[in-house]
Amino acid sequence: MLKFTAEHEWLKLDGDVATVGITSYAAEQLGDLVFVELPKVDQELVKDGNGATVESVKAASDVYCPLNGTIVEVNQAIVDDPSLVNSDPQGAGWFFKLKLKNVADADALLDEAAYKDLIA
């Protein structure tokens, strides 16, 4: 199941683990990324807390954590090559996998149609 936030993140839910990244729209708005800082595995994150930091040539931006949970995996590939986020934001450019504290929290997020309305 694919969910979205108004802060332009996507979540792909698989059981109680969500793979999190930024949307194509967000990647395009940010421009060419040159630096990505990810959380650490086992780190506990809270909803709307800082999940990651991305930097373009122009500016640094925070990527907020969409739900409460614990980091179980991070995508080292985007740290090594931040341009992956621009070229494949909703695929190979994923950020981290979050084991959700409460899976039902995801129900409140936007579905794809609602997100598309938001950026239209």
């Binding site: 421009g31 060419d32 040159v34 630096f35 800082e37 930091t53 373009s56 040539v57 122009k58 640094a60």
Partner: protein
């Protein structure tokens, strides 16, 4: 949208929209921060071929002595800038800055000897204040802000070839030469200079002909439009100051490492020593040094270190030294680059300092500016 209706548009506004530039507010204007190619590609294209920049937001000012003599205009302007303007030859340009009574910098500018008058280009954000300053202080001169002209910069190793397709004569110009050339009946002021560290030109042209000239230049296969984003990363790699970031009224020209811009005639023992605002401090600093200096800073890691990041002597953040004034990722350097102010004790190339970024202390090394090798045609 309310904000954008209050913003001014340059004579090339329609062109930016046609080229799908991403427009942002900048110094009271709607300006393209980037085009669809993006900052990274635009930056690299400028260093590899030629980039066209709309810099029409900058202030173009004519300073003419009421007597009609260049010497009178030059001597008048010398009262506001610590630069040798009297010694500037016709058709030559020079960098300078307005100083204030405490030796700070009010703005930086380019000054051209146009034979019987001065042609001055100042920063967009300061132009109203600069014109008021000159009108108040240069009572023997007429000072006119020209608002019906565009300014187009063409920068990069192919800039000469691109511009020579229109004016073959530009190939004979050298760095900081300025010529008047005609385009479809319109007199243009063409200077061989710029703000990228590359060879290149800046063309002042009537607003009516600007779109036509820009379009003709962009028809050349090597010439692409470049936004303000890449203009900033290009100038930072080139070690050039951005007014409001790297220099302002709290920095003296000597602290800012701009002493190269002061010619012999205005320094101690020169023909026209001093005689500009803040001369006592500035000439004193030239003789005795300063307590801090603007330096290049190379972050050792991959994270860009942005302006206002605090600099420390130690990795624990105990001893604060100064601040980063400009910082970004340098596409040509392929890594982060920055500038900032450090105490003279820590300003030697190779010195390690630490910048506070998101609660961490990242190591940086004081670097010799520029970060790239300029290709000015001297």
């Amino acid at each position: 949208m309310q904000q954008s209706t209050q913003l001014k548009q340059t004579p090339l506004h329609t062109l930016h929209l046609l080229l799908q530039g991403r427009m942002v507010p900048f110094a009271g204007y709607q300006m393209p921060v980037e085009y669809p190619a993006g900052v990274m590609k635009e930056h690299l294209h400028t260093r590899a071929a030629a980039g066209l920049f709309d810099v029409s937001h900058m202030g173009q000012v004519i300073v003419k002595a009421k007597s009609g003599s260049y010497e009178d205009a030059a001597l008048a302007l010398e009262k506001l800038v610590p630069v040798d303007i009297l010694g500037l030859k016709p058709g030559r340009q020079r960098y300078g800055f307005f100083t204030d009574e405490s030796g700070g910098i009010l703005d930086d500018l380019m000054i051209t000897n146009r034979g019987d008058h001065l042609f001055v280009v100042v920063n967009a954000a300061c132009k109203d204040q600069d014109v008021a300053h000159m009108k108040a202080k240069l009572i023997s001169c007429d000072v006119e802000l020209i608002e019906d002209r565009a300014l187009i910069a063409l920068q990069g190793p192919c800039a000469e070839a691109v511009l020579a397709a229109i004016w073959p004569d530009v190939a004979h110009m050298k760095f900081m030469d300025v010529r008047e050339l005609v385009y479809h009946g319109a007199a243009c002021i063409v200077a061989r200079s710029g703000y990228s560290g590359e060879d290149g030109f800046e063309v002042s042209i009537s607003a009516l002909h600007a779109f036509e000239l820009a379009t003709a230049l962009l028809e050349h296969k090597d010439c692409k439009p470049i936004g303000l984003g890449a203009r900033d990363s290009l100038r930072l790699e080139a070690g050039l100051c951005l007014y409001g970031n790297d220099i302002d009224t709290t920095t003296s020209p000597i602290e800012a490492s701009l002493e190269w811009a002061l010619q012999k005639a205005r320094k101690a023992g020169g023909d026209r020593e001093g005689g500009f605002p803040g001369a006592a401090r500035i000439l004193g600093e030239l003789a005795n040094g300063t307590t801090r200096r603007r330096v290049g800073l190379k972050p050792e890691g991959k994270a860009p270190v942005r302006s206002h990041a605090k600099l420390f002597a130690d990795a624990e953040g105990n001893t604060e030294l100064g601040e980063v004034t400009s910082g970004t990722f340098g596409p040509t350097v392929e890594g982060p680059v920055a500038m900032g102010y450090l105490p003279t004790s820590h300003a030697a190339a190779g010195t390690q300092v630490f910048a506070e970024v998101r609660g961490k202390y990242l190591p940086m090394t004081v670097a010799t500016l520029p970060f790239i090798t300029p290709t000015y045609k001297r």
